[in-house]
Symmetry: C2
């Protein structure tokens, strides 16, 4: 009978996801330093070796959490971009959505972008969802501008810096909105005729 094996595979996939969400929940409520293999095993009500039959190690588990997060972030950004009232507002909407994501799910964001990970981003192995999220930024800029990939990279970098420095209290979290405003204003401005901000 093959229905039995199918059921087992279903159960196995279900448990696979159970481990991921348990790790994510634990991290979101108590921080990643509280996510140990023992506590995680206890949480999913299995013994530790079960974890290792699903993942190569703890790092693989947080990587799985991160990959899930990439998917969520991509749809989150996409929704924000499409919901923008007019195309000129797309960049602002996507940036705000990005920062909201980072502040509302700090642990998940850490797994995706801060924690040491072995995820290769070179080219072949890059999670498609990560590329999709990045493309949401790219699509905010003029397709005729051949530098728009580069501009998107700088935008993303700035947002990432704002998110992480604000989260760790190195810049005042309260003025995040003002920073966001300045960023999108400058990045949609024509290049300098005569400098203004510089002394």
């Amino acid at each position: 009978m093959s229905g039995i094996n199918e059921r087992r595979e279903r159960e196995r996939a279900h448990r696979h996801q159970l481990i991921i969400t348990a790790a994510r929940d634990l991290a979101e409520t108590e921080g990643w330093e509280a996510v140990t293999t023992r506590r995680l095993a206890e949480r999913v009500e299995y013994s530790q070796p079960v974890l290792y039959s699903h993942f190569n190690g703890k790092d693989a588990i947080v990587s799985a959490v991160a990959i899930d997060g990439f998917g969520e972030l991509a749809t989150h950004l996409r929704r924000a971009r499409l919901a923008a009232p007019e195309p000129g507002q797309a960049l602002r909407a996507v940036c705000r959505a990005y920062l909201d994501f980072a502040t509302e799910r700090p642990a998940l964001y850490q797994a995706m972008f801060v924690l040491p990970t072995n995820l290769s981003f070179g080219s072949p192995e890059t999670p498609p969802a990560l590329r999709a999220g990045f493309d949401e930024f790219v699509n905010c800029f003029d397709p005729a501008d051949e530098r728009r990939e580069l501009i998107a990279e700088v935008t993303w970098s700035a947002l990432h810096g704002m998110a992480v420095l604000s989260d760790s209290g190195r810049i005042p979290p309260a003025s995040q909105d003002a920073r966001l405003d300045f960023l999108v204003t400058q990045f949609t401005a024509p290049p300098a005729g005569q400098p203004r901000n510089e002394r």
Copy 2:
């Protein structure tokens, strides 16, 4: 005799610094995950408890490394700003110096800005050197602009994002110069008359 105690205090301070530089060297050559209390103790040729007579724990050691780094970064940035050929080039020079620092001393940079740390940045306890480094950015902008603190925060955020995302391979390290160029160009531009980059 009080000269004896003075000598002891000197030796103690010397050993204090020895521990810090040993930790930093070890991290710079083999990464922070290789910095264990045992290896560090072996490196300085003392037993582990000696470390704990100088620092409250491992976290305090990496914090000490970070604080040293803040000082170095501040002087590095200051030198770059003062060496700029004309004041209009100051921002570009400081930004480039910042990115150079991050790429040339990745482990030190991690200790300063990435690793989980208990350094409070609220207000009273903030290391003066960190504030000094930040002020180098502030001083690149027009003193008449009351938003220049905010602009400096965004600048710093963007640089931090570029440094860390490039270091982890999430954006191509090769185009770092082009990104830097775009950043300073846009941040010294007047605010948008009619948008250009946006679609």
